[in-house]
């Protein structure tokens, strides 16, 4: 795959992954089977003993099984992970297979490891040493993988699938640890994962991209752009993310008012973001034209930024305000900050995750800290305050102002894990054994996929002579072509 251009010869890069990719997949999947065999069991709501459990808890109806509280949200989150993230990245003209296909691979790989890692930290039954899983674990596994898929956004088109799997293996591990520290040790709240998912995931990906900096990436510049229909495909991703974000932020919120409020806040923040994104996009392009990059990405920033505070009493106008500023910041990021990051800081961020996840994620953490610190019993009620912030058990003496401080501490933890972990993992991925593409082969599905020969990419004149055009135009064409001369 090496090229000699302008007299300068690169050493050819070996992008053959015929051994490494199957080996990683098989070894990994076998390990998962063994570990699941040793550790993972159904929890009391997904086990056949549910009947007895129900009686013990004096639950009268099957509808109170957690499944019915969370399954619709779970499915929405599932769509965001696989269709949302996958199609959002199909915008490149010749990397749609890699976008949607590797996203699929990474997510399916990561959710298994996430069930184990998160299980050990959060769902371990100390009586028998088993992880007991139910629908909430499935949601959390999807969330955990979301962090790695965000990171993939920065690396899109520049890494091999093997690198992605390694990135995910470490990413899920780091995620589970930082999540444990933030949610359990610091007892910060983060229902929609502004800190735990978005801040961590984005800085993780940006740091890796920084370590893997490619000075000659210009060589594949002609493929780093969209075509008309690839932009429409990307809008499928955008819209499913946008529509289901209320489910994302409410999926693991408290039963009842918690889930209800999280959905409302997210709905409003996102609506507001769309308006300011369109405004900024139009304001900075000549003749006020809109840029698909902004519409595809910045419209989602409000969902990220309202993640932590979604289940708080942020109030409807508070959500609108968060969305308002996010749309502005994110679009400005695409216009001014991304070129700066690439040129000055040497961070090549294919999808602009710094604008969609990093800045809005940090903003979400700050909004969460402020709104937690400002919580009062007047607004929340005695019960409400306790429920919302789980001021129970070890934390029953905590007060909102202190909680605000711990929220801020949580944000710092996410940042540190993202940046630190990213640099370390980036160094691992720099090893020349992972089959990554040469600079001139980036953003090209040809490297890792069997790509069909498109009729369109073959000159029609030849196509005709090769009988590849439907017959009915043939005569007309030949005639016209001759007349032309």
């Amino acid at each position: 795959m090496g090229n000699c251009m302008g007299g300068v010869c690169d050493r050819p890069k070996n992008t053959n992954i015929k051994l490494s990719l199957p080996a990683v997949c098989f070894v990994w999947q076998l390990s998962m089977i063994i570990l699941f065999g040793v550790f993972v069991r159904y929890n009391e709501e997904s086990d056949t003993h549910w009947v007895e459990h129900k009686q013990a808890l004096n639950i009268t109806s099957d509808i109170e099984n957690d499944f019915y509280f969370r399954y619709p949200s779970f499915q929405d989150v599932h769509v965001m992970i696989f269709v949302g993230f996958g199609f959002l990245m199909t915008f490149l003209k010749r990397y749609s297979f890699g976008a949607v296909g590797f996203n699929f691979l990474v997510a399916a790989f990561g959710i298994q490891w996430a069930l184990l890692m998160q299980g050990w930290f959060h769902s371990l039954d100390y009586t028998d040493g088993k992880i007991k899983i139910g629908v909430e674990n499935l949601i959390n596994a999807d969330f955990c993988v979301a962090g790695c898929l965000i990171a993939y956004g920065a690396l899109l088109g520049k890494v091999s699938p093997v690198q992605l799997l390694v990135m995910t293996l470490f990413g899920v591990t780091l995620f589970a640890v930082e999540e444990y520290i933030i949610l359990s040790v610091l007892h910060a709240k983060d229902a929609g994962g502004s800190m735990v998912i978005h801040t961590f995931g984005a800085y993780y990906g940006l740091s890796i991209s920084w370590v893997l900096y490619r000075p000659n990436l210009d060589k594949s510049k002609h493929l780093n752009g969209s075509v008309y229909h690839s932009d429409v495909f990307a809008m499928i991703g955008t819209l499913f993310l946008w529509m289901f974000w209320p489910s994302f932020n409410s999926a693991i919120a408290d039963h009842g008012d918690g889930q209800h409020r999280a959905a409302i806040n997210t709905y409003l923040a996102l609506a507001s973001t769309v308006l300011t994104t369109v405004a900024m996009s139009s304001l900075f392009e000549k003749t006020g034209k809109l840029d698909m990059v902004h519409i595809q990405n910045s419209t989602l920033a409000g969902g990220v930024a309202v993640g932590t505070a979604a289940e708080f009493m942020l109030s409807p106008y508070g959500s609108l305000i968060v969305g308002f500023f996010c749309g502005i910041i994110s679009t400005m990021g695409y216009i001014h900050l991304s070129p700066f990051l690439e040129e000055k800081l040497k961070i090549q961020d294919t999808c602009g995750i710094h604008n969609l996840h990093a800045m809005p994620g940090v903003m979400g953490g700050i909004v969460g800290a402020i709104s937690a610190a400002a919580a009062t019993t007047t607004v929340y009620g005695e019960h409400g305050l306790q429920n919302t912030f789980d001021f129970t058990g070890d934390f029953k003496n905590r007060v909102p102002t202190i909680q605000g401080g711990y929220q801020a501490a949580g944000l710092c933890v996410a940042l540190c894990f993202g940046i630190g972990g990213g640099i370390l993992v980036g160094l691992v991925l720099k090893l020349p054994i992972w089959g990554d593409p040469a600079d001139e082969n980036c953003y090209d599905d040809e490297i890792y996929w069997e790509v069909p020969e498109d009729e369109e990419s073959i000159p029609p004149i030849l196509a005709y002579s090769n009988h590849m055009i439907p017959d009915k135009h043939a005569d007309m064409r030949e005639t016209n072509f001759v007349e032309q001369r």
Copy 2:
């Protein structure tokens, strides 16, 4: 953007929206924040005081929060609004960005205003003067916006985004008023919005289109059509609308049997419509070929027409009958009525909303009136009749036959608001300040969007000389091209 063709010069049209679009978006969003700050709060099911509320009402489980009754339907409706309507309109070869992008903008803009307008009429808490919102308000906001998106279908490709926002501002306002008159004053029932949403929205859009008639629209005729893949994109919209229509019609129906029955009726009506649409499409094309326009649109007419009566005891075969005739009427509309509307009545209806929403909507209102008038206690039961038609409070003495009359009156209100409102708003939109495209630039994304240069639209020979074709075919091509001559 002006053109001189055949010696006749148009004055150039100014489609620069660099000031107007951002200005409208910012002013609007700031107004929304202020108004939400003054007026909008969480309702008792989305507020942290839910715990106390639950105790007061003697509710034993969080699962009885309205969120769990309506959230899955809400998300389905949300998908219909953003993906359904958005992608349905991507069928034009060069207006997919405008279809899905402006649909997105209009909807995000409209739902905020709808929450306020509908809130003032329906959810105002008179004790503190605040609008209290929950998941049902979100659904209703989506419904309200649906009216404006239907209207957009008539205008697709011929208006600027600023015009769309103005159209939506007035549209939502008119919608809230007619909805209040129909549902609260007349006490008509309209769970799926045949009258309130579809009849109003369609005639609103058609009237605007009539006022904005473009006699020289032929100039952009070459863009008023589909290409192969744009038709496939449109099927995404069609199918998500079709599949989730049972949720649309049941989303705000009564808890329990009401939602259940509305879903069944809609499911059946839509299935029936598909069959008759296919039959009519095949019958009127030479050699029986099917036309994508009919499959994309007329298959949905059954969902529109069963909207009002969906929660009534229409009975399964009644739903099939409604769907049967709708498929026929709607497809016939595309074949015979649309050309007539355009040539004789000067109504240019890009998506054919007259066939998909106007006629089926009116039919739905009539079906609703008849089935309400025919309701009996034998069929409904004493409780059932009272529950289904809300014969309580001020309306406790109303009987089915009278209800039928009020249903018919509701249909007239929807028609009047649609046509009257549309003409007025059309006159506003005719002002030469909104940046609408010239006749020769209609249906063209180039005007309002940064459109990527597609490889396909550049002759391959040139593309090759510009290094824009993957290298591996290059040699083969050049050789063959030479041999060809």
Copy 3:
């Protein structure tokens, strides 16, 4: 549509369906209306008498209406049927209309007949001779149609829509009978339909394809492949099937732990399948490239194979193991078995349903039989065992080992109905009256659809002379073209 090539003249095939298609649709739909009028009514949960029914059963809340247990899953299944199956088959370069359009037609046609057929067997109220329907019937109708859509996968591109309707009419009928035998007579369990849906559907389609074998199908070989964007469209189908498969397998499982466990098992099996599919695909292509055919199809095999056992205590690692082997078997099938089936057994299987549904379906039946036979009260609990396998009424003395035998018998019934029924229906479809395409017109939407003229398929030079290219490139193009010579 006949052709004379190389001196050999085919008799022209008549693909005119202008009479037959509308006739079948109208007659059918009218029959449905009459039969629904005679037979179909709302059940006690979707009827207005729900209030009284609720009191009789001492149900305190509307949320216990079956609608709220099953509606979210129903909508997911609905998406799988219409978008999942429909878009999965859009991969062919020029058969996307037929894939998604005929899928739509077949499904809408079939669900009505399925409601009747399944209703007579399972939901007949003997007191009044009426079929009483609710949301579970809608799910089962979708399931029933899934069998026919699987069969369509084998026939894709080679049959007329009239043939598809005939195939569906018989398919649904056969399905209802085999389902009755398997579920009611044998009392086998099959929540996700590995046997009832997938095994039956796949062998039904393969048998039909065997009877309809076309020795000269090579004539349309140039259309039996994908283009870049058609492969991306197909991924929409793949992902919606993959994501919602947990809903498919849990949709009609027992309330509470049954649905919960079925979702978890399916989630895990599918994740595992993705990894082994990727591994096998990479292992068997040169330089380890991935093949979209495998990613689009084999990744789904785990969902099929875990169908029967999804609601059993398969345990999480058991699900992973099932998925592990399925990915391997299915991908190997595409690589080695499909060519063998076509060349040696004369079975032309367009979508490779043998690899996606037939083999995994049989595997699912076997897994179900084994895991049923191995069930113990230690694992399930006394109540749990009884609930899960419905050891009540006539079957209260059945024990797990015997149940395992009946499960195996169920698999045989599905196979027999699939193969036997397929051969008989294939013979009916071989009659020369159904308007099927000639060998050289297979896989071509032109035959049954009005297909838009794509700009891309016309040589740009001619397109320019016909004013079909955006003006702004025109001058540049002409100049360059001249310079080129």
